[in-house]
């Protein structure tokens, strides 16, 4: 059996199992450390009185510490509700002071120093008292001479063994009761702490937005990087190869009908330089197709269709150019879909249809091939799905065995 994940659930179970589990000890540890922290808060407040405004920020370290301390009675770590501030002290201060979480933490600190401090002290004192009375008979059993230790409750002295045993018999249920009461208090306090110090729904969704924003920026950065690499290759290696080929061509021309070994070598070098040029041209095109940048998606898809090994009917109707990242993703998906269709589906023809529906680009690639494509197998289709989801788009594939295979891509078009 797995241990209960909250103290309340453990308390509701078998009492013997609860009392002999780690839970009572964890609760005691939680409350004892609460008292220590509360005491430290009071000390800091006393020192902070010299410059009171600093106390506004007291909730921040307390909140951080309290979230960690929750681990004593809670299985999972509590995430911070704060955002990452811009660099610099000023930016940090402005961010923190404008956050609701900062003020929640301050409120929690006030509760900690007052209500929680006293309630926890009281609960711990009751437990201590009960436990102490339970051990009184041990002192008498140890045979200490009378008068060495005196236990006094009000006007009543516990000075004989039978009296001590009677007291212990009453103290035993009282102690059990205290353990339950203290554990309930610890559980309640933990829930209260978590409620105040963990991120709210709004703060959580803000994080999701931040994440998706940074993902979009990353995609755009990748896109820009591909273009830069493409341009560098075009301006560098490709130009030099063109010049080299041209000079080898001129050399051949100057040599005329030279039948020597040198003439043959120059001719061979010329051929190889031309092959290198062809190779680098294809590679540059693969990194980022220039025609997509220049003429947009319809022309680029038309070119894909012209180069495809099966007949492709492109029908791409767009009223205007789309954001570069959207064009690029759509192009990549169509290109991969055509490659996959040719490789696996053996279709007689493929249709590529694309249009704008409001703020969304829709792309549909249908082939009349054998079907049976499964995105969970192989990385090709999986990669397309990922590529679409990075742009907050969706990619659906229906491919019954026997065909037809239809791939539907939807991409939101956001203009910056």
């Amino acid at each position: 059996m797995t241990p209960s994940d909250t103290v309340w659930r453990a308390m509701a179970g078998n009492p013997l199992r609860f009392l002999f589990s780690a839970w009572p000890w964890r609760c005691v540890a939680y409350l004892v450390t609460t008292v220590v922290v509360a005491f430290a808060v009071w000390t800091v407040c006393a020192m902070g009185a010299l410059f009171p405004p600093i106390l506004v920020l007291l909730g921040l370290p307390v909140g951080a510490l309290e979230r960690r301390r929750l681990l004593i009675v809670q299985p999972e770590a509590t995430p911070t509700p704060h955002v990452t501030p811009p660099p610099g002290v000023g930016g940090w201060l402005r961010t923190r002071l404008s956050e609701v979480a900062t003020w929640r933490e301050l409120g929690y600190t006030v509760c900690l120093g007052s209500v929680l401090f006293f309630a926890d002290l009281l609960a711990l004192a009751m437990l201590f008292f009960g436990a102490l009375l339970m051990v009184v008979p041990i002192f008498f059993a140890a045979g200490l001479p009378p008068g060495t230790v005196t236990f006094r409750m009000g006007d009543w002295d516990i000075d004989t063994g039978p009296k001590a045993i009677a007291v212990a018999a009453v103290a035993f249920p009282f102690t059990i009761f205290s353990v339950y009461g203290l554990s309930a208090l610890a559980g309640g306090q933990a829930a209260f702490t978590k409620w105040l110090l963990s991120p709210t729904q709004a703060e959580l969704s803000r994080k999701v937005e931040e994440l998706s924003g940074s993902r979009t920026r990353l995609v755009n950065a990748f896109e820009a990087e591909r273009r830069r690499i493409e341009r560098d290759l075009h301006d560098g290696a490709q130009q030099h190869l063109v010049l080299l080929t041209m000079k080898l061509g001129l050399a051949q021309l100057e040599m005329g009908d030279d039948q020597s070994r040198a003439g043959a070598l120059v001719a061979e070098a010329h051929r190889e330089a031309k092959q290198a040029l062809t190779a680098i041209r294809e590679q540059i095109h693969g990194i980022h197709p220039q025609i997509l940048t220049d003429l947009g998606l319809p022309a680029a898809v038309g070119e894909l269709a012209e180069r495809c090994q099966v007949p492709v009917e492109p029908d791409v109707r767009l009223p205007h150019r789309l954001p570069a990242a959207v064009e690029s993703t759509a192009y990549f998906v169509i290109s991969e879909a055509l490659t996959n269709a040719v490789k696996h589906a053996k279709p007689a023809r493929v249709r590529v249809t694309s249009w704008l529906a409001g703020q969304r680009l829709i792309v549909i690639v249908t082939d009349d091939g054998v079907g049976g494509a499964d995105p969970s197998r192989g990385t090709g289709l999986r990669g397309l799905v990922d590529r679409a989801s990075v742009m907050d788009g969706t990619l659906g594939i229906t491919s019954p065995v026997g065909g037809p295979t239809t791939l539907r891509l939807e991409l939101p078009c956001r203009y910056e």
Partner: protein
């Protein structure tokens, strides 16, 4: 034949190389510029026999050179233009051929300058008013897969003739290339036009346009 040429190419090394190549064949480069705006200005000022331009140029490094070439052709029906492209795509060729003028027009893969003698020949042909389309573009168009391919009706020899015709070769050049007589070439071309249902077009540029339009549809 010595031609007066305006050249536009943004990379300095490449520009110098092209100037050297053109001068080797006896032509005069009256202006060698590095961007599309300067190209249009130089072409209007010098009214050269031929303008040679790269597609990709500053400031945007996209298709400024092609745009300038199209504008020149649209503005002056006698301006002969040869466009050098990093990557051969039919869409570019189609844009360039759009405005129909009497002057020559050419669309070549930049790599072709490596075949110096052939390149020099193309330069002269375009300046003389012919239409020249890169063999790569035509090969791509001919290899294009169609659901029902009317090109299947052509004999292999007729397909060869169609390809050369689309590249902008004259009947004489086609005959020389395939080692057949002028009459045979004319007969093949007649068959092609009939089999493909093309309107008859004697003039070189219009013939290329008709064939390209047909192949792209």
């Amino acid at each position: 034949m010595s031609l007066r040429i305006v050249l536009a190419e943004d990379a300095a090394l490449m520009r110098a190389g092209l100037v050297g190549l053109l001068e080797r064949f006896g032509h005069t480069v009256i202006a060698a510029v590095g961007d599309a705006e300067a190209l249009v200005a130089a072409a209007r000022q010098y009214r050269p026999d031929l303008v040679i331009t790269d597609v990709r140029m500053p400031p945007g490094y996209t298709d400024e050179g092609l745009r300038a070439a199209v504008a020149l052709r649209a503005g002056d029906p006698t301006a002969a233009v040869l466009v050098l492209s990093q990557y051969a795509a039919t869409a570019y060729a189609a844009e360039l051929l759009g405005p129909s003028g009497r002057a020559g027009v050419g669309y070549l893969l930049k790599d072709r300058v490596g075949d110096v003698a052939e390149f020099a020949d193309t330069v002269v042909r375009v300046a003389a008013g012919e239409t020249v389309i890169d063999a790569d573009v035509i090969r791509q168009l001919l290899a294009r897969q169609r659901a029902t391919d009317p090109l299947d009706r052509l004999t292999p020899r007729e397909r060869e003739v169609l390809g050369l015709m689309a590249e902008g070769r004259s009947n004489t050049a086609i005959g020389r290339q395939l080692v057949i007589g002028d009459a045979a070439v004319a007969k093949h071309i007649g068959n092609i036009f009939t089999k493909l249902d093309l309107p008859p077009a004697e003039d070189g540029h219009r013939r290329v346009l008709a064939v390209l339009t047909y192949l792209r549809s």
